[in-house]
């Protein structure tokens, strides 16, 4: 090694490698940078050179295995941007990635002639054969697994023999007879009761194959009206509240569906009620009409009866006058009838009515009865019954006025009669009753 001196007189030692690679010696490296691995020679990094140095390529931070796809270019020089969509699929997979896949076939530019014929018989036969063969393999494998007779594989347990010819026997030539060896290979016998030797660890699934590109427009945005139409309020029970939540009333009723359903009532309900109302009105009118009519008839009868009575009274008066004249000529004698009638006072007309009842089998039987009963009623209803009904005493007992109470089951009397009236029958009347045809019976026969 030649000794050399630098500018300030220091001795510089130069190694072989330095010399070989023209590495500038220490002190003369100001503008120099090591560019290749050889520039480091057999030494290390140069501390005075201010750059990252990796002598012997040591110390670099390694880039891990990356999943990035390298950019690929197709035969026409265009970059294959759909390599991402085709990643992970087999080569035969068809992935529709371009906009032209969205255009109807007959409107695509570069399509040429469209052939819609079904594939020929040969192609079909070929496909069928290929599929069938694939299926056979799968099915036979599965059926063998399903039908396996024994757990041991008898073929594997038999011995195999191997003829081995060693070469280069470490200097030892050996005799000609022992140049070859026969080796018997036997499977190690497996203990059938031994538990499994290895643990099966579960490996998490790898990423799925990339999803197919969506060749459709994104779903339309919801309008506020649509969202409202499909709004379903949460179901809040009207009956159960197990956790005791306090929920506002409008939320309790929200799922009720009140506002949604239109309650339709059948028309027939209205028709029915109208018909009932009409019938009721009709019936009431009829009843009123009937009552009026009956009242009119009764009035007429009453008039007739009164006339008749007046006539009778006149006749009687005349007779009396005549007899009185006669008796006054002969002598003055009492009149039993009159006295009786006088003593009876209020019931004068009644006594008359009784007499007329018993006396006459007149053609006015019915009418006479009616008149009588009406009279009774009229007396009672017009003057006496009113007064009687108003006074509290009149309502109480039947013992009050046995005479006055005449049970009469006539039609138009039923309303005006109170219950207390129905029971009384004056015993006096029963005496005076004629045996054969009592007015009761008669009235009974009529009133129904």
């Amino acid at each position: 090694m030649a000794t050399t001196y630098n500018e300030i007189g220091a001795v510089i030692t130069v190694s072989d490698a330095q010399k070989l690679n023209n590495i500038p010696p220490y002190g003369q490296r100001t503008g120099w940078r090591p560019k290749t691995l050889d520039d480091f020679g057999d030494g290390g990094a140069f501390p005075e050179i201010n750059m990252k140095q990796y002598p012997l390529d040591m110390g670099r931070t390694k880039q891990g295995p990356s999943n990035a796809l390298a950019i690929q270019v197709d035969s026409q020089g265009k970059i294959k941007y759909d390599a991402i969509a085709r990643q992970g699929h087999a080569a035969g997979r068809i992935v529709h990635t371009s906009f032209s896949d969205l255009i109807p076939l007959r409107q695509r530019a570069n399509i040429g002639e469209i052939n819609l014929a079904r594939p020929s018989e040969e192609e079909v036969a070929e496909t069928t054969a290929k599929t069938k063969a694939a299926f056979e393999m799968i099915v036979s494998g599965k059926s063998k697994a399903a039908n396996a007779k024994s757990i041991t594989n008898s073929k594997a347990q038999e011995a195999t023999y191997i003829r081995y010819t060693p070469s280069n026997m470490m200097g030892e030539r050996g005799d000609g007879q022992h140049r070859q060896r026969i080796i018997k290979m036997v499977d190690l016998p497996e203990d059938p009761m031994e538990p499994p030797k290895f643990r099966h660890t579960k490996v998490p699934r790898g990423p799925p194959s990339p999803p197919a590109p969506l060749l459709r427009s994104p779903p339309r945005k919801l309008t506020a009206k649509d969202a409202e139409d499909f709004n379903i309020p949460p179901s809040v029970s009207k009956w159960k509240n197990p956790k005791g939540y306090t929920i506002a009333l409008d939320k309790r009723l929200a799922a009720d569906g009140r506002g949604l359903e239109e309650v339709k009532i059948n028309d027939n309900f209205a028709k029915l009620s109208e018909a009932l109302y009409a019938a009721d009105r009709h019936a009431r009118e009829e009843v009123k009409q009937r009552a009026l009519l009956q009242q009119k008839i009764a009035d007429q009868e009453k008039e007739a009866k009164e006339e008749h009575l007046r006539m009778l009274a006149r006749k009687v008066r005349e007779e009396r006058e005549v007899t009185a004249r006669n008796t006054s000529r002969r002598s003055a004698s009492p009149r039993p009838v009159r006295s009786r009638s006088v003593s009876r006072g209020r019931s004068r007309s009644r006594s008359l009515s009784y007499d007329s009842r018993y006396g006459s089998r007149s053609p006015y039987d019915r009418d006479s009865y009616r008149a009588r009963s009406y009279e009774r009623r009229s007396y009672r209803s017009n003057s006496y019954s009113r007064s009687r009904s108003r006074t509290p005493q009149s309502r109480t007992g039947r013992s009050r006025t046995p005479r006055s109470r005449t049970p009469s089951p006539s039609r138009y009397d039923s309303r005006s009669r109170s219950r207390s009236y129905s029971y009384s029958r004056s015993p006096s009347r029963s005496i005076s009753r004629s045996p054969s045809r009592t007015p009761r019976s008669r009235s009974r026969s009529y009133s129904r």
Binding site: H96, F99, S100, N110, I114, L116, T127, T131, A134, A212
Partner: protein
């Protein structure tokens, strides 16, 4: 709308409807018209293709010539009135502006600025493109649009079909009729209902032949095998049963579903059946050994419909997570996922002769092409109901039955709805009991059998006296303007 715009639209429509039949009256100068014809044809065919060329190749070609002045002056000479009425199509290079229409795609190249002028300016060299159009094009006229559409798309005219009318009502079930299947010889059909029975009816007369009991919950799916004397049924009680039709009893059960099984289909070539239901998986069963060969998982919600076919993809499932999946049966894996629908897909139907299928959901009924599951079209105008069932005819009639009893009939090729009716309930039922759960055409395609919520089965047929003049059906108009998908 501006009267000029209105006239433009009307003229566009008439051009599209009748242009093919009459053409323009170019009977003046034969060579000129021939030249125009050829040049326009070439441009139409190949100028669009030019855009799909890689840019480094396209740079080598000369830039596309717009309409040369020569062409337009001849056009002007020939028929100035016609020229004013029907504007020329734009050069195929100008594309893809939000205001330009593409479905019929015959539109004046000028932007809205020129609409205010009285007469359209035709000279293309002085064509003032709107700022948007300029932005959507490169300097040399090729388009920068992400998806290029054809400019001259002619819409498919719908074929006329006779109107469908009710022919027969069959009552007999005591619960909602949920499933139906016609036997391969077209003699009888079987229906499964909510009264847990399967009833077999004579197709010609509608009389009951047989009742099979065995399920303990609603029978949701039925299939008669064309290759064995078996009837397969599945129900909400997780059972999948195989009935022997010679003995009329259950001979096999397939055990493994974790929840109700809603749909069932048989493979046409293999002895395999596929069932799917509420557990979001489709199970593929080997018929003989009763083993589940594959469990096709991937859906995230109930699978409402499953269909099998003989070519790849052999199984199609539609589910209530709005996805339609096409499966590779040999591997037991999904081949494609179709995510175009917005609502649950409740119905699937395969076309008997074409390699296409349709899926129905409440937002749309969409038509797709096999094997890659390319979207073909929407069936317009939409059937605004929850579509429970779809069936297709070999005549190209597709029926969709709704949950509210509405029925719609579509022409398959064009996607046009030509009839919409509402089923009437059987007397004694409430109006709310109007709904169609299942349907099928018989094997001739002349009769449609629908299974309804008023416990009846209705048989429909085409009106024999209908003609295109007397019963034209719902009117079809070609669409102008860009559509949204």
């Amino acid at each position: 709308m501006d009267p000029v715009d209105q006239v433009e639209r009307l003229s566009k429509r008439s051009r599209d409807l009748f242009g093919k039949d009459y053409g323009f009256a170019l009977d003046y100068n034969e060579p000129i018209s021939q030249r125009i014809k050829f040049s326009s044809k070439l441009r139409n065919e190949y100028l669009a293709a030019r855009e799909s060329l890689p840019p480094h190749i396209e740079a080598k070609l000369p830039p596309p010539s717009r309409f040369s002045r020569r062409d337009d002056t001849t056009r002007n000479e020939i028929n100035p009135i016609l020229n004013e009425l029907i504007p020329p199509p734009p050069p195929p290079g100008t594309l893809a502006d939000a205001s330009t229409s593409t479905a019929v795609a015959i539109r004046h190249g000028h932007g809205p600025a020129s609409a205010t002028d009285g007469t359209p300016q035709v000279a293309p060299a002085q064509m003032q493109l709107t700022v948007q159009q300029q932005r959507s094009q490169f300097g040399d006229g090729s388009s920068r649009a992400l998806a290029e559409r054809r400019t001259n798309v002619t819409q498919v005219r719908p074929e006329w079909h006779a109107q469908w009318k009710l022919m027969r009502v069959i009552s007999g079930h005591l619960g909602w009729v949920r499933s139906v299947c016609v036997e391969p010889d077209n003699q009888w059909f079987a229906t499964g209902a909510g009264d847990r029975t399967i009833k077999i009816w004579d197709l010609a007369s509608g009389t009951l032949k047989l009742t099979l009991t065995g399920h303990i919950m609603t029978v949701r799916g039925l299939a008669v095998s064309p290759r064995h004397p078996y009837l397969f049924s599945c129900g909400e009680d997780k059972m999948v049963k195989c009935w022997d039709l010679e003995q009329n009893k259950v001979i096999r059960q397939y055990h493994g579903h974790l929840s109700g099984v809603y749909s069932l289909d048989l493979h046409p070539n293999l002895d395999v059946l596929v069932t799917a239901g509420r557990d979001a998986v489709a199970r593929v069963w080997d018929m003989r050994t009763r083993m589940a060969v594959h469990v096709l998982s991937g859906h995230k919600a109930t699978i409402s419909s499953v269909k099998c076919q003989e070519a790849d993809p052999q199984v199609v499932t539609g589910s209530m997570d709005t996805q339609v999946r096409l499966w590779d049966l040999a591997a037991g894996k999904t081949q494609t996922v179709l995510t175009h629908h917005k609502k649950s897909v409740r119905a699937l139907t395969m076309h008997p002769t074409e390699f296409t299928f349709a899926s129905g959901s409440a937002d749309n009924i969409k038509q797709w092409k096999f094997p890659e599951g390319a979207f073909m079209q929407n069936f317009e105008p939409a059937h605004n109901a929850i579509v429970n069932t779809l069936s297709t005819n070999s005549d190209g009639v597709m029926f969709s039955g709704g949950d509210n009893g509405s029925m719609a009939f579509f022409d398959w090729k064009s996607g046009h709805k030509f009839q919409e009716t509402e089923a009437t309930v059987v007397p004694g039922s409430l109006d709310a009991e109007n709904g169609i759960f299942a349907s099928t055409f018989d094997h001739t395609g002349l009769r449609l059998i629908t299974c309804e919520a008023d416990k009846s089965i209705k048989v429909w047929r085409e009106d024999p006296e209908a003609t295109p003049e007397t019963h034209p059906g719902i009117e079809w108009k070609p669409k102008i303007g860009r559509q949204r998908y």
